[in-house]
Amino acid sequence: MDSVDPIRAYLLRLEAAMAGHDAALVHDAVLDADAHLRAAVRAGASPERAVEEYGTPDEVARAYVEAESGPRGWRDVPAPARASASGTDAGSTPGPTEAAAGAPAPAPAARGLRGIPVIGIWFDIRAWGAIAYFGAVGFALSLAYFVWVISLGSLALGLLPLVIGPPLLVLLLGSARAICLFEGKVVEFFLRVRMPRRVQPVAGTGNGEIGFWARIGCWLRDIRSWMSLGYLLGNFPVALVAFVVIVALASVGVALVLVPIGSLLHMPVIADFDGDMRISMLGQELTPDSEGRVFIPIIPALVVGLVGFAILTGTLWIARGLGVVYGYAVQAIQVARPQPLRTMPAAATSPNDPPVIAPR
């Protein structure tokens, strides 16, 4: 029976046509198609006709990829060579080739200053976004999330034997999902990892005709609720470590980079030195002047400045790398499906059942 459901078969082909592209984009494309096709079937069309009118998987995949790779694209993917942003196609015009729609496009030849090896990271806005995220915003938010989850979670667990316990647990899971959606927007803004535009309702609650306790059961069974909760709990210690590492490295790096500038401006590193200690730097002894001020000669100061620059460069790379991991972790939660398309039972995708996603 599975193999004869045209809508599910179409969704699988669409997913295959978009293989290699951003998971959030694939998620949106599949959910859009699912909602549209089921709406068409509810309106009286046969599944076969609905699928035919929707366009071939290659055509649809190309439309999504091209829309994404325009000026607003989040990833550095140029439009395919045979670019067309159109939704109309004259009569017998064949669909795009699989290569045009499927494979990720190569990186652009010239990426400006960002393309410079190693130090190009200084010109990468995503690295600076990651610095802002891990050095300030992300940590503050993770702390707030953690406090909320621990407070409400303790209350819900404590009251679980009473009738008010399960609704509180659902409130906790619901708030965790809402917070994760918000976190997705924050992550998309700072870390530049695309999040899905389409939100999946809780599995099983799509038809709006189920009872209160059945709805609570759906919330408790939906894996994404627990993934969101796990993220909010696990995010805090990780964000704390990231905050400490980024702030410590950046502070040291900035301090060292300022040393040669101070030397050029003839600023003493010690204003009033009257001890008996000997100070040496890179094998060169630093002697205080008649007023007790100690200056760093320009050559050692430049070396120190270069070390600071290297530390800052490394910090940017670390932040960028952490940003990628974080971004895709949040994305993975948001694109997770209660059950993969391939293993979904036929009944769950039959045209008369509630859709996997909300029709829009």
Binding site: G55, A63, G87, A90, T93, R360
Partner: protein, 121 residues
Amino acid sequence: MAGDLSEKLQRDLSVGTAWLVVLAAVARAEEPIHGYEIARQLADEAPEGITFKQGTLYPMLRSMEADGLLRSTLVPSTEGPARKCFVLTAEGKRVLAAWTDTWRRTGRWVNRILGGIDGLR
């Protein structure tokens, strides 16, 4: 060769046309309109020989929304979860008016030129 070129010309022509008709479909709706309804209207009214690929509509709507031409609201539905419905923004109305004017002037110009080759058919 001629087929490839014809295909390219058809694609070039349809760039922008699809955006224009989608904006117009949203503009003529009396209430916020959802994606499925837009797709159905465009497919129903497409002339013979022109197929509107309904699956290309949704990324187009997102691009228009990102460009500030459309604004979306969630409207409750009796058939399931809330639907995302679209209305034109002030910028969308301005772009549609300018685009419509361009389309009509271009059409007149092209038709005038094509009138001179009727004998070649």
